[in-house]
């Protein structure tokens, strides 16, 4: 058999706990004692013995914090072997945290090490304006995380200048940045997607913001004006 399909897309050597296979698939080495949280349903393939539990006890306590309709459900992956994850053809970005904190939009989280300190937090500012809110997964510590982005993301340095981001395009930001909502709607006009509230989040401080070149098709808020 010949062709690029069989020739060019084979497995790559495993060097790290998490790596990219192509730009849209994350590869994670699952080992005993090093469990992984992954977006439920993101598994596309695995080798070896891996168990998935979409209702783990650790997560149950968090269930109430998720906004209804937010639709981010995590599963634990335990066992041994390489695990391949993807999310509807989005770009996958693998990040190795080094004793730092990253806040990732709930819609953009793909997987993270279970031994990271993590929590689900409302993004300040969004809730103040819309009444509903935007939920981020905040990861702290040292370990691996994978996030998705619709289209290649761009990292903006907030040390250069305060950065204002459309909430639909926000993927992740350094936890600890100061977040200020800002309205730029003028004269009855509207910015942002559709006809919803018109505001951006302003970030300033020591860190960075990751944005994607697309709005997410899933609704950000349960109620849109």
């Amino acid at each position: 058999m010949q062709g690029t399909l069989t020739r060019d897309y084979g497995p790559t050597p495993i060097t790290d706990r998490m790596s990219n296979h192509g730009s849209k698939i994350a590869k994670v080495m699952i080992e005993p004692g090093k469990d992984l949280f992954a977006r439920a349903g993101s598994m596309i393939a695995y080798e070896g013995l891996i168990d998935f539990d979409a209702q783990p006890p650790q997560l149950r306590r968090m269930a109430s914090s998720w906004a209804t309709g937010e639709g981010v459900h995590l599963m634990t992956c335990t066992g041994q072997g390489p695990l391949y994850l993807a999310d509807y053809g989005k770009e996958v970005v693998v990040v190795k945290l080094d004793n730092e904190a990253l806040s990732i939009n709930g819609k953009n989280i793909l997987a993270f090490d279970a031994d990271l300190h993590w929590g689900i937090e409302r993004v300040k500012g969004v809730s103040m304006l819309s009444g509903m809110g935007m939920f981020n997964v905040v990861l702290r510590g040292s370990g691996w995380a994978a996030m998705t982005s619709r289209g290649n993301p761009v990292v903006l340095d907030t040390r250069e200048a305060p950065t204002f981001v459309d909430t639909d395009a926000l993927v992740a930001f350094t936890d600890g940045l100061s977040v200020q909502p800002r309205r730029t709607a003028r004269l009855g006009g509207l910015i942002g997607r559709g006809s919803g509230e018109a505001f951006q989040l302003g970030f300033s401080g020591q860190g960075f913001v990751v944005v994607q070149p697309s709005e997410d098709p899933r609704p950000n808020f349960s109620v849109r004006g």
């Binding site: 069989t6 020739r7 050597p13 296979h21 003028r186 006009g189 910015i191």
Partner: protein
């Protein structure tokens, strides 16, 4: 597919090929004797080690990551570049051509720069003398690092010829000349460029015994684009040979441990430095540096830095355009103030078009943003068959830039004979063609056999000049 690049266009190499073993071909049809060379520049854009000036007297770099292959396969000069063996300190490989003798770059009748990987041409940048005036040297294209390897179609002329070129890379030519081989290529090449004695072209630097134009010493490996097995591919996995795993980013290369730190992991997604008013961040996002106002599709702002205001009130030029085009989905906002605005829309591919006085017709659906300095005219192709009564488009001309968005990589089709484009896939076309709407019956029966009656093809007839149409692989 061959990606057709235009002057100023940039891309990640991984966007056109997954291979890192590239064949670079330069074709240049012009009177006179042109020397095509490759400069390996450091992060400051300087030729800090002249071993990395690859030209006819020095046909390869020390570790052979850059090799001169000579004329072949229609190319007047060709190189083999093994990207993953290029030393880390090299930030940019600049491919340049310099004229030996009288003449100017304006006399170039045709030329192209192409990348070939795995035996297939993947990228072509076509240029001609109309891009230049009296320049005597041309920076054709760059392969450069910005997190990952990228390619840029430069097309920049240098008035002073090779002397100016080397000076711009290496600084003071005269001072360095006695010890460096690069002025050798310039001796006699450019009148008025007097290399100090001792650097005659007949005295190539020691260690480079290969005569000009001859195959490099590594000619045991096929000089053609055939990919060779990378050094580290001892593994029998078939994916390790040739082009490597398609789509796998070269930066976290096999065997190379990832450094910890979120910022380190995200380095390849860093904001690219501002170059001019419109800067492409990646294939799907552009940055506009405000000063003068810009018009952008409403809702296309993903982020901004600085003091920027977005105005939605329909007035002036924007209101005029919008009134006519609203039904075609063009709702614009004015971006003004100072700072940088990042624009993207629905992960569409974005293309920055500098008009430089030319004119272009763009489908209203494919406009992302443009300078207010452009002359714009709303036009309509009328036909009873078109839903809404006509195809609205914007004819833009003058000095400025327009950003065109396409779903998927587009195709630019030169119009020689009658050319047909599906109305739903049309992105842009050159001004001055005769456009007619093909009758539905003919279209459905003969061209789109089996298509539903909705398909409408526009027929383009161009006489003389370089007429083209651009279509996208996505029918709205």
């Amino acid at each position: 597919m061959v990606a057709q690049f235009t002057r100023g266009q940039k891309s990640q190499i991984s966007a056109v090929t997954a291979g890192t073993d590239l064949y670079v071909g330069v074709h240049l049809d012009a009177p006179g004797d042109w020397d095509i060379s490759c400069f390996g520049l450091d992060v400051d854009g300087k030729l800090s080690n002249d071993d990395y000036f690859v030209f006819f007297n020095q046909p390869k770099s020390p570790e052979e990551s850059i090799q001169l292959l000579g004329a072949q396969a229609g190319d007047h000069e060709s190189f083999r570049v093994t990207l993953d063996r290029v030393p880390d300190w090299i930030d940019r490989l600049a491919f340049c051509a310099a004229l030996d003798g009288a003449g100017s770059a304006a006399a170039i009748s045709s030329g192209y720069f192409r990348l070939v990987a795995g035996g297939e041409e993947v990228l072509r940048y076509t240029f001609s003398g109309t891009d230049f005036t009296a320049e005597r040297a041309v920076m054709i294209a760059d392969l450069y690092r910005k997190g990952v390897w990228r390619v840029a179609a430069v097309g920049q002329g240098f008035a002073g010829g090779l002397a100016e070129l080397i000076r711009s890379f290496g600084g003071e030519v005269e001072d360095e000349a006695p010890s460096e081989p690069e002025p050798a290529v310039g001796s006699g090449a450019v009148p008025g460029f007097g290399p100090p004695s001792g650097a005659a072209p007949s005295a190539p630097a020691p260690g480079f015994g290969v005569p000009a134009g001859a195959p490099p010493a590594a000619a045991a490996s096929p000089p053609a684009p055939a990919p060779s097995v990378p050094a580290q591919s001892a593994s029998p996995a078939p994916a390790d040979t040739g082009a490597g795993v398609a789509g796998v980013e070269p930066s976290p290369a096999a065997g190379q441990r990832v450094q910890p730190g979120a910022m380190v992991s995200l380095t390849k997604f860093r904001e690219t430095p501002t170059v001019g008013r419109w800067t492409k961040q990646n294939s799907k996002m552009v940055k506009v540096t405000l000063g003068a106002e810009a018009l952008a599709l409403r809702g296309s702002m993903v982020a901004y830095q600085g003091d920027v205001e977005f105005d939605f009130k329909g007035s002036g030029i924007r209101g005029f355009i919008e009134n006519k085009l609203t039904q075609q989905g063009l709702k614009l906002m004015t971006c003004k103030g100072t700072g940088e605005v990042f624009l993207a829309e629905d992960a569409s591919d974005l293309h920055i078009v500098e008009l430089n006085g030319d004119s272009l017709c763009v489908n209203a659906r494919n406009i992302l943003a443009f300078d207010t300095t452009l002359n714009t005219e709303v036009k309509r192709i009328e036909s009873a068959g078109i839903p809404g009564g006509g195809l609205f488009h914007l004819e833009v001309s003058g000095q400025g830039t327009i950003v065109v968005k396409t779903k998927g990589p587009p195709m630019t089709l030169p119009v020689n004979g009658p050319t047909f484009g599906d109305m739903n896939a049309l992105v842009a076309w050159s001004v001055g063609m005769r456009i007619s709407v093909s009758s539905q019956v003919r279209v459905t029966r003969q061209i789109y056999g089996g298509a539903s009656g909705e398909a409408l093809a526009m027929q383009f007839m161009g006489i003389g000049g370089n007429h083209f149409i651009v279509v996208q692989p996505f029918e709205v």
